[in-house]
């Protein structure tokens, strides 16, 4: 065997390896592709049958000799097989690489499972992580009833199946299986922490409904031929079952990788080996791409496959996104991208913590604006929520809504627009270019991802953000220096919906500035809590106790997931002493609140309505459809209007939903501050329009995540009916469907199954943003019962009901 030495040996035929091999084959470079199993790309091969595979990130172009696009698992595998054959890729199946040694002559010797030794000058490790799934370590883990993946959930019927692992994989399997099996899921923790929002909703519902049984804080003790024994908080539990599916994650096959001489930066279980810009590891000639190199996305891996081959051949090939970035930065003159990236990294602290590829990706998703002095970036009360950073020049933030000359200037490297990002509310100030400047606009979603994943981003963001929030909402016009002592005491607090922020009677030594979410103020009157008011983000609470040096006069609860900036009372008082003007303002507000509270305690029913609306989650909405039941004649014209103005599908269910007094909250989108539906949309099809409407654009792939994520069930997957409502033919002859009616398929004599083929899309209320004249439901209400309100209007609504 030692005779012919391959130029490149590729280990693992996943997307990355396949792409690399494909390119090598195309270039006629001598190569070998080593695959452990008897088929290509095992991981994807083992996806659930029919699983829809995404091709994120969309903006990143695919650069590979292997075809790839979002689609069904089957079709993707097919294309690859075809292409592999066409390119005559030299694949060696069933050859698991046991060891890789670099001989002194710089040639790698790869020892396969069957004992064969393959020699190559370069090695590309594209083994990913799934290659070695974590196995059950407990006794009996090797019994036949234990399996580590689920190919086709339909395969099993009327079995009792235990799913171990509370990750997405486990949850997805469990849910898929629960359709026709009796499923038990084992969760190491007390709740499902590591899953996507969508899966979380699904699994929790399933468990609440008893469709799936769940053992929390449980570990498998041992497996028996027909059962599994669990260690639970209260002793052992025996769960008889026909099948055990363990989805307990995968880790880098560390032992093996290290045996190849590759070092890991840390001992952390999740740590990955470090690679250079050319994907070369610390072992020269050994390259690492794909998940193992830290790039879990298929497209990335495939691009890397091609690139790494080029590198090995000594070609300096620009990354795939080069042309795109060039286009983006065209505005800066024909600058070299590397240079620009470097500049970004150097000037903008928020981004300096990102690794090169992540930074490039971020840049790809961001927009570059080149503005002349005086041009407006965005206006107060716009509902845009993207994030801006200044690359060159500077901007001025107009603090006062009236006087455009009250401004704060920001230098290069600074960022702005983060408040919209955090609070999910309208812009609080107008921003104009102070001088000719270059701005980077990063979309909300990208930014949130960064904030979540990159600690450095979050830190830098928060520091400035807090100062800004204090400056905007609490102490406008007070200099940064003056605020420093106060802000230094600040800490960010997060509250779950309904969680207590502080209670009436507590001793008050701090105050909270609500920076996202909202909360309710309630007071004990005659033994029961009465809601006095609703406080949206951008306001502060708790100042009363400080000013009056008395215990809390009311209870504050988070109306929905809320973030507050907690400020030390003493520091605040000190500030007030230094700033008499501010003090006056705060005290004015203080008096006003006392009066308002007094007023409200005298009319609990209004408070009850607020309470009710908050309970309906209206609190986190920005624009909610309410129906005045004292006027509603149940004609359902609102639903019909909705359907007819949205291609025959109503996004609104009038009757469904709770009623209190004469206020009815129909099932319809509230356009939340932080839309749950946005949180996990693969094609990023859900956006917020400048006027605040949350809408889904045509790039929806119908994955259903948003439907699951929406806690209010206002999103549905639907296909537009083929038969459209035609007013006159219906009015005159009853021909076709009536307004808002689905023409039943029996009526249309459709072949069974035809319906299935229609691609379903997620549909939700878009507040008729594309229709002049506003929301159709409200306009179509003959009796004026339907209305749209924003939480800030609750008080007025509540009072008006008197």
């Amino acid at each position: 065997m030692a005779g012919d030495t391959y130029r490149i040996a590729i280990v693992g035929s996943g997307p990355g390896g396949l792409s690399a091999a494909g390119h090598a084959a195309k270039l006629g470079v001598s190569h070998v592709l080593l695959e452990r199993t008897d088929h290509l790309s095992d991981t994807i091969y083992k996806y659930q049958r029919g699983k829809y595979v995404m091709s994120t990130p969309d903006i990143l172009p695919l650069r590979s000799d292997m075809p790839f696009g979002a689609g069904k698992r089957e079709s993707i595998l097919d294309h690859w097989n075809k292409q592999t054959a066409e390119l005559k890729v030299n694949v060696r199946y069933n050859s698991e690489v046991k060891a890789i040694q670099k001989k002194d002559d710089g040639v790698f010797h790869l020892t396969c499972g069957d004992g064969a030794v393959i020699t190559a000058e370069n090695v590309i490790l594209a083994i990913g992580l799934q290659g070695n799934l974590n196995k059950l370590t407990c006794p009996g883990g090797d019994l036949p009833l234990v399996q580590y993946q689920l190919d086709d959930p339909e395969e099993y019927e009327a079995e009792t199946i235990v799913v171990i692992g509370a990750g997405d994989a486990g949850v997805e399997n469990a849910i898929a299986l629960s359709k026709q099996n009796n499923v038990v899921i084992i969760n190491r923790e007390g709740e499902f922490l590591r899953v996507k929002q969508g899966n979380l909703t699904l699994i929790t519902n399933a468990i609440d409904k008893g469709v799936i049984q769940c053992f929390y804080n449980a570990e498998p003790a041992r497996v028996e031929p027909d059962a599994i024994i669990l260690n639970t908080a209260d002793g052992e539990a025996r769960v008889p079952c026909n099948r055990i599916i363990a989805r307990i994650g995968a880790a880098a096959p560390r032992k093996f990788v290290e045996s190849c001489g590759i070092k890991f930066p840390s001992a952390d279980r999740a740590a990955l080996p470090e690679v250079s810009g050319t994907y070369e590891s610390n072992v020269p000639g050994m390259y690492i791409i794909g998940a193992l190199g830290g790039y879990p996305l298929i497209k990335q891996a495939m691009n890397q496959g091609l690139e790494v081959v080029e590198y090995i051949l000594g070609n300096k090939i620009a990354p795939a996104d080069e042309p795109l970035l060039k286009k983006k930065f065209a505005g800066l003159g024909d600058a070299d991208i590397e240079a620009v990236i470097a500049e970004v990294r150097a000037t903008i602290p928020v981004f300096s913590g990102l690794n090169p590829l992540l930074l490039r990706e971020t840049m790809l998703e961001s927009d570059v604006h080149v503005l002349k002095a005086g041009e407006v970036v965005f206006r107060r009360n716009d509902y845009t929520n993207s994030f801006f950073t200044i690359l060159r020049g500077g901007v001025a933030i107009q603090l006062s809504p009236t006087d455009p000359n009250v401004v704060v200037k920001l230098p290069p490297g600074a960022f702005f627009g983060e408040m919209g990002l955090i609070s999910g509310r309208r812009r609080t100030a107008t921003v104009v270019a102070a001088s000719d400047c270059v701005l980077l606009e990063t979309p909300r979603r990208t930014m949130l991802k960064l904030v979540k994943s990159i600690e450095s981003v979050r830190r830098t963001l928060d520091q400035t953000a807090i100062m800004r929030q204090v400056q905007t909402h609490l102490a406008p016009g007070v200099s940064t220096e003056a605020l420093k002592p106060l802000v230094e005491t600040a800490e960010i607090k997060r509250f779950k919906p309904g969680e207590l922020i502080f209670a009436q009677g507590d001793k008050g030594d701090d105050m909270h500035l609500i920076r996202s979410g909202s909360c309710t103020v309630s007071m004990r009157v005659g033994g029961r809590d009465i809601v006095l008011s609703y406080v949206p983000s951008g306001n502060y609470v708790g100042e009363m106790a400080l000013l009056s040096d008395s215990p809390r006069s009311a209870t504050i609860r988070a109306a929905n997931a809320t973030e507050t900036v907690r400020l030390q009372g003493d520091a605040f008082k000190a500030l007030l002493e230094r700033e008499p003007e501010l003090k006056a303002k705060v005290e004015a507000k203080f008096r006003q609140r006392i009066m308002q509270n007094e007023q409200m305690t005298r009319r609990p029913e209004a408070g009850n309505i607020i309470q009710f609306l908050i309970e309906q989650g209206v609190g986190e909405g920005t624009d909610v459809l309410l129906i005045d039941e004292s006027l509603c004649v149940h004609c359902d014209n609102c639903e019909k209007a909705c359907a007819e103005t949205h291609g025959g599908i109503s996004r609104l269910k009038r009757e469904a939903g709770p009623t209190f007094a004469t206020i009815h909250v129909p099932t319809s989108c509230r356009h939340c501050e932080h839309p749950h539906c946005m949180s996990d949309c693969p094609p990023n099809a859900i956006h917020r329009a400048p006027d605040g409407e949350v809408y889904i654009d045509d790039s929806c792939i119908g994955c259903g995540n948003c439907e699951q994520n929406c806690p209010y069930g206002v999103i549905q997957l639907a296909a537009p009916p083929e038969v459209k409502f035609d007013i006159f033919s219906w009015l005159l002859f009853g021909k076709g469907p009536g307004p808002g009616e689905e023409m039943s398929y029996e009526k249309k004599k459709m072949a069974p199954g035809e319906k299935v083929d229609k691609p379903k899309r997620a549909v939700k209320c878009d507040m008729c943003k594309d229709i002049a004249g506003g929301a159709s439901c409200v306009r179509a209400c003959p009796t004026g019962a339907a209305m749209r309100v924003s939480p800030e209007e609750f008080m007025s609504v509540a009072l008006l009901t008197k």
Binding site: L731, L732, F733, G734
Partner: protein
């Protein structure tokens, strides 16, 4: 025991099974089943009482099938119980029940039904029928005295009752509405109302021809059971309110409202009987008042004297208007006064007390002269005349023959006597008491006497341009309007003044008087002018046909 009771060996937990539904019993290896009281039990579909079961029998208890199966090794036989008719899902059943509104009828279907019914019953049907409907012309109906006219099927389309005058053919629409969607044409009206005169001389007043108007623009039909003659005051007043300036040459005075704006009445009277001048220049209230020269001498006051007048026969009688003035047949006007009817009773024209049975001829003076002469000739010839102053020869016993000489004497006497009578108190004197005498140089002859009697020329209708009905005023005393009792001369015009009329009559809107519009006294179409519309192709002979086909309005 078989039943839903917990104590049953075969427990059938279903409400449709009785507590203790049936009894299974074993006798000698056989199995029997029997229903308990009031229980329904079927073996292989037949309603059964206590009976023996064979392998394979199916016992139906409520929703259950109990099947007796062959031995499976454990015992002589097996009983399998199967719920074949489970209870339906309540929620489904209930949900399927709830429906609001009617399913069998929809607003749409009702709409169609009503709409079509309406269109059919009230439009298509009448219209279709009208195509076959023959509408006879009004004239034919009228003159053939044909009473029953085929009613038009389109009667439902009428926009209101037809006027009284036209009722007799009002049921046949096409008689007037000849062509659809075309207004009723004047020709159609003219088939009956041929000679409807102009209102004013079209030569002088272009507008008076009303060329731009059709009959029906004034005479509106289908306005209910009433005359279609416009009685609106404004209709006339529009023009007549200002005739003086607008049409000075007509010489008409302004009138717009009988109560408030109407000229004083001008009687049409004879101002010179000799020249027979008829004038209408002075109004009743002018001073001096209009005087009529009728050549008659009749003081009303003397005849109507309260004490009464002497009647040669009845002695003293007091007269009243109606003793002489009588209304004509139509009840509108008074008949002319005639000597024979009205005067003679008192004023018999006797001329010789010795010839009491003879009266003078009235109204023809010449005849009267001749008559007198003849009378006395005859007396002289016969004799027996008893006046004392008369000669013997005349007073002789009648019938005594006369000689030639005597004859001559007698005729001379006769001639002389006649002259004295004629020119004496009985002759000329008597005429003169009522009439005016004039001298003539007439050649002597049998029919002349050198004087004559003026013919009487009194007007009979003083207000010819207006209509008046004495009959209509029957209950009003004559004196209220005619001041005859104080009238000393027949020259007085004893006609009422405007004021007198206005005592009772006011304008259109008058509330305290009889509302009276112009049309009450005056006609719009003036009979003294020629026809307003010329009828195309209509020969005069047709006129005979339309006598009385409705008087011209």
């Amino acid at each position: 025991m078989v039943g839903r009771g917990n104590d049953c060996a075969v427990h059938l937990p279903d409400p449709r099974v009785l507590l203790h539904h049936a009894e299974l019993s074993f006798r000698g290896g056989d199995i029997y089943i029997g229903p308990s009281v009031g229980a329904d039990l079927r073996i292989n579909g037949v309603l059964s009482q206590m009976s023996k079961l064979a392998i394979g029998d199916v016992v139906k208890i409520g929703p259950y099938d109990i099947i007796l199966e062959a031995n499976d090794g454990t015992g002589p036989f097996t009983i399998s119980v199967e719920l074949v008719q489970p209870l339906g899902d309540d929620l489904q059943r209930l949900t399927s029940q709830v429906k609001v509104g009617a399913s069998w009828v929809s607003a749409r279907s009702l709409s169609w039904a009503l709409a079509l019914l309406l269109a059919l019953a009230f439009f298509l049907a009448p219209w279709a029928a009208s195509l076959f409907h023959e509408a006879p012309p009004a004239l034919l109906i009228l003159n053939s005295q044909q009473i029953e006219i085929p009613a038009a099927p389109t009667n439902v389309w009428t926009s209101g009752h037809i006027s009284g005058a036209h009722k007799f053919f009002g049921d046949s629409c096409e008689t007037c509405h000849v062509t659809p969607f075309v207004r009723v044409q004047d020709e159609t009206c003219l088939t009956c109302h041929e000679n409807v005169e102009h209102h004013a001389d079209p030569q002088r007043f272009a507008f008076a021809a009303f060329g731009d108007r059709s009959c029906q623009s004034c005479h509106k039909e289908h306005m209910g059971n009433q005359s279609i003659v416009l009685s609106d005051q404004s209709f006339c007043a529009d023009c007549h309110v200002d005739m003086r300036n607008a049409h000075a040459d007509v010489g008409l005075r302004d009138a717009s409202n009988f109560g408030t704006d109407h000229p004083e009445l001008n009687p049409t009277i004879v101002t010179d009987s000799a020249l027979h001048l008829v004038e209408r220049t002075r109004s009743m209230t002018d001073t001096p008042p209009p005087r009529e020269d009728s050549s008659l001498d009749f003081p009303h006051d003397r005849h109507l004297r309260p004490g009464g007048v002497r009647d040669p026969v009845r002695g003293n009688v007091s007269l009243d208007c109606i003793d002489c003035h009588r209304v004509d047949g139509g009840g509108a006007y008074m008949l002319p006064i005639s000597y024979d009817k009205d005067c003679r009773r008192c004023h018999a024209l006797k001329f010789d007390t010795f010839i009491p049975d003879r009266e003078m001829i009235h109204g023809q003076p010449e005849e009267m002269f001749k008559q007198i002469r003849d009378v006395y000739d005859a007396v002289a010839m016969r004799g027996g005349y008893t006046e004392p102053e008369a000669p013997e020869l005349i007073r002789r016993r009648p019938g005594t023959p006369l000689t030639q000489e005597q004859k001559k004497q007698a005729s001379d006497w006769a001639a002389a006597k006649a002259e004295t009578i004629m020119n004496g108190r009985f002759g000329r004197g008597q005429c003169d008491s009522c009439h005016q005498i004039f001298e003539t140089q007439a050649s002597p002859g049998p029919t002349s006497a050198g004087w004559g009697v003026e013919p009487v020329s009194a007007s009979n209708v003083w207000f010819p341009k207006s209509k008046f009905s004495h009959d209509g005023h029957r209950d009003v005393l004559c004196g209220n309007c005619h001041e005859a009792r104080t009238s000393t001369s027949s020259a007085d015009v004893n006609m009422p003044t405007l004021a007198v009329c206005q005592n009772c009559h006011g304008g259109e809107e008058s509330t305290d008087k009889v509302p009276s519009t112009c049309i009450m006294c005056h006609d719009f179409h003036r009979q003294d002018l020629e026809a307003m519309r010329q009828v195309a192709n209509k020969s005069p002979t047709d006129k005979s046909n339309i006598q009385g086909a409705g008087a011209p309005q």
